[in-house]
Subunit: 344 residues, 2 copies
């Protein structure tokens, strides 16, 4: 990042207020509910009679991302998407975000602008207003904290609890890609460390690398629910891995479930990468996080509304018994335990 011969700007040359002004000036306000945005002690939102949904996430360099292969623009984009995904998981649409960053003095103004160009792109893509934040220095590395605020869809918000016996368990998109992308990028980093002249060829891994570097939140699934008059009985987004999220839905709903291994959606590119890395595809789908797909349950009468959508997969059903089980391709029943990503 600092290889560029162009003269870069130290943050202390511009100061905190100058930095805030510079990085926020190009953000346009697109939502009526944003009455007052960046530039005062706080922002003012007018949600009329709508309820609001609030979520917050913190991303730490060296824990959640590695800047040696994660471009800052993508990082900005992904930070916003991760929070929007949490609002989706409540059956909601994000309207505003705040973004706070702490940066060490190794970061130049131009790097922060890169980060914010990704944040801006996500705001534009998802019709979200940046309404506030904080910028400060850190002793080491980059820390990003995003708070997202939104409104529930007209049908109302959906929690992790609320699914009923015999409800169908459905997942959007495909799973495991983001984790596999991370493996590919980590491998290329190791190659680069041994031979700094090597040029990574990622053309065979486009899908999985994009799943890692530029994930999307499933606002389109929320739109699909509205169009098809579906209200999920429970929902969660897959940030920690399918098994961890399934356990949350079951625990919060006070039920168990049966999930069928053969129904788990895994993209062909992911299967190919698994083969190359000698990884078990189902394990990756269950344990790999950061796919930002939605896992939800619906009443079984809604089956026909989802079964023909190639982007939605019915992977099982809820049970009265509290066992959370996987039915393997070989027909064996085995308990699902949390194998999700751990922060500590």
């Amino acid at each position: 990042m600092e290889k560029n011969t162009k003269k870069l700007t130290n943050l202390d040359q511009i100061g905190e207020f100058g930095l805030i002004e510079l990085i926020t000036k190009d953000f346009e306000i697109v939502n009526d509910s944003t009455e007052l945005s960046v530039g005062d002690d706080a922002a003012i939102l007018d949600y009329k009679r709508d309820k609001s949904i609030v979520t917050t996430d913190m991303l730490v360099e060296g824990v959640h991302f590695d800047l040696s292969y994660f471009p800052l623009k993508h990082l900005g984009y992904k930070s916003v998407v991760a929070s929007i995904s949490d609002i989706c998981a409540m059956n909601g649409i994000t309207k505003q975000i705040t973004v706070s960053i702490a940066v060490s003095n190794r970061f130049k103004l131009e790097s922060i602008q890169e980060l914010y160009s990704g944040i801006k792109l996500a705001c534009k893509r998802y019709n979200v207003d940046l309404i506030g934040g904080d910028t400060t220095s850190s002793l080491k590395g980059l820390v990003i904290s995003v708070t997202a605020i939104g409104i529930p869809a007209k049908s109302g918000h959906v929690t992790r609890g609320g699914s009923k016996h015999n409800d169908l368990v459905v997942v959007s998109g495909s799973l495991g890609g983001a984790y596999l992308g991370l493996q590919v990028l980590e491998r290329e980093k190791q190659v680069f460390l041994v031979n700094p002249n090597s040029k990574p060829d990622l053309s065979n891994y486009k899908h999985v690398v994009e799943r890692q570097l530029k994930p999307e939140a499933r606002n389109d699934v929320i739109d699909f629910f509205i169009e098809n008059k579906i209200k999920p009985t429970s929902m969660i987004d897959i940030s920690d891995g399918l098994s961890s999220e399934i356990l949350h839905l079951c625990k919060n709903s006070g039920l168990g479930c049966r999930i069928y291994e053969e129904k788990i959606p895994i993209a062909q590119e992911s299967l190919d990468t698994c083969e190359e890395f000698k990884l078990e595809a189902s394990t990756i789908a269950f344990s790999g996080g950061e796919d930002y797909e939605l896992l939800f349950t619906i009443d079984s009468k809604d089956l026909e509304k989802v079964e023909n959508d190639p982007d939605l997969s019915v992977i099982g059903h809820m049970t009265k018994e509290s066992d959370v089980n996987l039915i393997t391709k070989g027909g064996k029943t085995t308990p699902i335990s949390s194998m999700g990503w751990k922060s500590f």
Copy 2:
């Protein structure tokens, strides 16, 4: 903190979900607007027809606080107070907060519980609900990010812009104490580093140390406005220092002002500490941050409502001319320039 002989708990022994459950279980919900709190992908707030006010702050160890003299419980309390103060500055009352933390592995569970005991105390003192957050590990030190959400007082929100020519400039409480408290604590730290057996005697500095370690947000001033039917024409909280905040009010209102040095409220204890440290009290009041007092402007017809309140000081008035001037005790006119605390 780790001197205790009691066996302390590593965070990886309890895990992220266990930690969240443990630190949030004692928080009570006190606001009707909090419909769904901690424990799902996001919180649900029901503000009916009220607008909402949103602000966010990030505090970084080694930049904003030094744990060698800042007790974790006080730190938790102050983190919340700083955000509540921003909501006050909009003429609002805080209803909810989210708190995200990143901690290095040197922190034990018991330390995090100390931090949250301070957060809880602030929530209780200010009738605020903790509705969400994130906990993760950091590579170094502690980072705290607080987002506060509240509602405007019935008279509506107040921004930094909006003051008119001849409006009176008023400040609550007294200034400079928090900065002086920091100087005292820094001095004791140096003494301790030279002689680890020394026991600090802070009894002469109770006021200033408390201003630094346990500041309060001025919700009571917002209540005073309501009782006395005052709506400030502009307002800001004093987190960076009086001069920096005055410049914000003037810039955002498109006006100048005249501030009278002799009117600046400084507590006797602060004057005493200034004398001991050979510091100029006015300079400290203008440049020292973190007092979390409110600086606001009111229509001059409201003068009689504030002039007899010992806790409010009329320190000057707004002018059509854009000069931001200080009239010194000697009668000299000198421009006020920003001398506030800089994050970079």
